[in-house]
């Protein structure tokens, strides 16, 4: 990535302490992103994730494969949320709405294929090659609507507005009596068809999800390094300046928001194919908080941080749930520690240390 304009750097310096900490916060890689380390870290994490199922199978704990699949799926959602929060500076507390929208798009199509009925005249299908892209499209459209309205506001209004939209979507799903209302509906009879082959096997399904994640990692890394990505970041740092330079900041921000919504929605579709159970839980507001939590624990503005955060959270859950039912207390404590002590998350800590060694 190119160096930021010198003028911009100067103007940043002159702003209040608070803004400086803010800029510092939002990008783990910061000016260092020209370095190779972020990409190396990304490659290492992806390689570890790819090898993980082989390792758990070898150590006779095959049940962990589904946990790893969830890491991949939620990591994908968290990573796309990072695009909005970390790079765009738009603190969305409503991304579960998109996750849920994806889940309901894929879940509804699957439901109707089991049921043999039609959805608005369209026959259902459980073919992931159709349901997943459909979810991405629906999620993107919803992102345009919710983002379009929420981006009319700024700062804390934006946070509250996204949260409120989240809740509205949640109630909407609760109203869908055909899919079990607030109870949800099981889709256990459906297969996991992906193209010509069947991914009912957990291991196969993991690698399918992993492939989607890999493509998304590459895509999002290209996006944030593109001119488009630079404008989005410019809007985060100083929207007035970008507007003065002639950029339609609203449109850039909205486009980033919609892209993120679309990928989050895709992750939601994958989640419902994985669990074969559709329920409004996917769209609960606390889910939005958890996605944000993953991004932060992993490290904001790093993309790969979302995946690291998801891994940290799910594995902590997996290994502590036998010890205490109240494991979330310690998640909260850990989050507090990260926010107060290591605002750059795990990724920031890793790279910060490495940088000193370089």
């Amino acid at each position: 990535m190119a160096e930021p304009a010198a003028a911009e750097t100067r103007s940043r310096r002159s702003r209040s302490e608070r803004d400086r900490s803010e800029r510092d916060r939002f990008e783990v890689f910061g000016d260092r992103s020209a370095s190779r380390w972020p990409l190396v870290l990304t490659a290492v994490v992806m390689a570890a994730l790819a090898a993980a199922p082989v390792w758990v199978e070898a150590t006779d704990r095959g049940y962990l494969v589904t946990v790893l699949t969830r890491v991949v799926i939620f990591g994908l959602a968290a990573m796309s949320l990072d695009l909005v929060v970390g790079y765009g500076g738009m603190v969305s507390l409503g991304h579960a709405a998109f996750f849920g929208a994806g889940a309901y798009t894929a879940g509804a199509l699957t439901f109707h294929s089991l049921d043999g009925s039609a959805l608005l005249g369209i026959p259902g299908t459980d073919q992931a090659l159709i349901t997943w892209p459909a979810a991405a499209v629906i999620g993107g459209l919803l992102g345009v609507v919710i983002g379009g309205l929420s981006l009319r506001t700024r700062g804390v209004y934006f946070i509250m507005a996204t949260l409120a939209f989240n809740q509205m979507v949640y109630f909407l799903f609760n109203a869908l009596e055909i899919y079990g209302g607030d109870d949800g509906v099981g889709l256990f009879a459906a297969g996991r068809s992906i193209g010509p082959f069947d991914a009912s096997d957990d291991l196969v399904f993991f690698y399918v999800c992993f492939a989607v994640l890999t493509v998304s990692v590459v895509l999002l890394n290209l996006v944030v390094r593109s001119p488009f990505g630079r404008v989005v970041r410019g809007c985060r740092d100083n929207q007035a300046r970008m507007a003065a330079l002639g950029y339609q900041t609203y449109r850039y921000r909205l486009a980033a928001f919609a892209l993120s919504a679309s990928i989050t929605s895709l992750a939601g579709a994958m989640a419902v194919t994985e669990s074969q159970f559709l329920s409004p839980t996917y769209a609960e507001w606390s889910e939005s908080g958890e996605l944000l939590l993953m991004v932060i624990i992993g490290g904001l503005g790093s993309l790969i941080g979302g995946i690291i955060g998801a891994a940290a959270l799910f594995l902590l859950e997996e290994f502590s749930i036998d010890v205490t039912d109240n494991w979330q207390f310690f998640v909260g404590l850990g989050l507090l520690a990260v926010v107060l002590g290591a605002p750059r998350g795990l990724t920031g800590a890793l790279l910060g240390r490495e940088r000193r060694n370089v």
Binding site: R152, Y157, M168, F171, N174, A175, W285
Partner: protein, 305 residues
């Protein structure tokens, strides 16, 4: 007509409960520029402590006092230990740190009180009905909630509008730096405001608890509704919180009553009830969207939120 009157009273009761939560939230935001997701947890603390104390003493007044005081003290403690460090941080840090508090509070109440909810019973002298309308007896306790809401908000208004502390508070929303220059202990003022907001939330938690299952996460719903109130009313505006709460309380209750009846004509009873209830749940968000489109800073918000 009788149904309408009764439901309007129910709506006002909801509105005033909501107001007690959102008034504190908006005050804290207006003065300290802090977005506090853990405000719902203070509501929960009030309800839990009251259930515990009420269960032990059997005395409603003691429970009310204990619940309110506990929430205020917890609020002060949290402000002192954590929130203080967030004043200069961005909103994202505030959201995260207070979300962490929500997670911890939800688990902590389970660790302390277990997962079996207790409850507060209504005080004996309010355990009767008042005929508010010919042929319509209405529980005295619910009327008392409305009265308590009016009293709490009026005293808050008097405090902010008529006292020296209130003057500082008002000054704090717009001229923070100047206030310190005049020798006001801004830190202490912030702690005080936070405690007042927390106490109000706790108070709301106690008075509402006879109608709640006092369990982990009981305040979350009120938190989100309060956000909607604030988006509608305008951040930092007490007036906005008043109009927003009452508007949303009434809209929600009326929608819940009349929408299922409306759907009854063409859907079977249980479907009409579900669809009606869910559409009704969404009704307040429709109000919010309209406000966002027409006045992005809320009905009474300052021009730059």
């Amino acid at each position: 007509m009788q149904l309408f009157v009764e439901q309007t009273l129910n709506g006002l009761q909801l509105g005033f409960t909501l107001l007690m939560v959102s008034a504190g939230l908006t005050l804290i935001f207006g003065i300290m520029n802090i977005i506090n997701l853990a405000h719902g947890s203070l509501f929960m603390v009030g309800a839990f402590v009251a259930a515990d104390v009420g269960g032990r003493t059997g005395n409603y007044a003691v429970a009310l006092l204990a619940g309110t005081a506990a929430a205020a003290v917890v609020g002060m403690f949290v402000e002192f230990v954590l929130i203080r460090r967030l004043y200069l941080r961005d909103h994202l840090d505030q959201v995260l740190a207070t979300f962490a508090l929500v997670l911890m509070a939800n688990e902590a109440v389970q660790m302390i009180w277990g997962t079996r909810p207790g409850g507060v019973s209504t005080p004996a002298f309010l355990d009767r009905t008042v005929t508010v309308f010919p042929g319509l007896p209405y529980p005295a306790y619910r009327l008392a909630i409305i009265a308590a809401g009016i009293a709490a908000i009026s005293s808050l208004y008097l405090l902010v509008d008529r006292t020296r502390i209130g003057m500082w508070i008002r000054a704090g929303t717009t001229h923070r730096e100047l206030l310190g220059a005049f020798g006001v202990n801004v830190r202490l003022l912030y702690t005080l405001v936070f405690a007042i907001g927390a106490g109000l939330a706790g108070f709301a938690g106690v008075v509402a608890s006879p109608f709640l299952s006092v369990e982990s996460g009981v305040g979350d719903n009120f938190l989100i509704l309060s956000f909607v109130v604030i988006v509608v009313g305008g951040i930092g505006s007490l007036k906005g919180a008043v109009y927003g709460s009452l508007l949303l309380g009434l809209v929600d209750t009326w929608a819940r009553t009349y929408l299922p009846l409306g759907f009854d004509g063409f859907l079977d009873a249980s479907t009409a009830a579900t669809v009606g209830a869910s559409v009704a749940s969404a009704s307040i968000y429709v109000v919010m969207i309209v406000v966002l489109v027409v006045k992005p800073n809320g009905l009474f918000g300052l021009p730059d939120g």
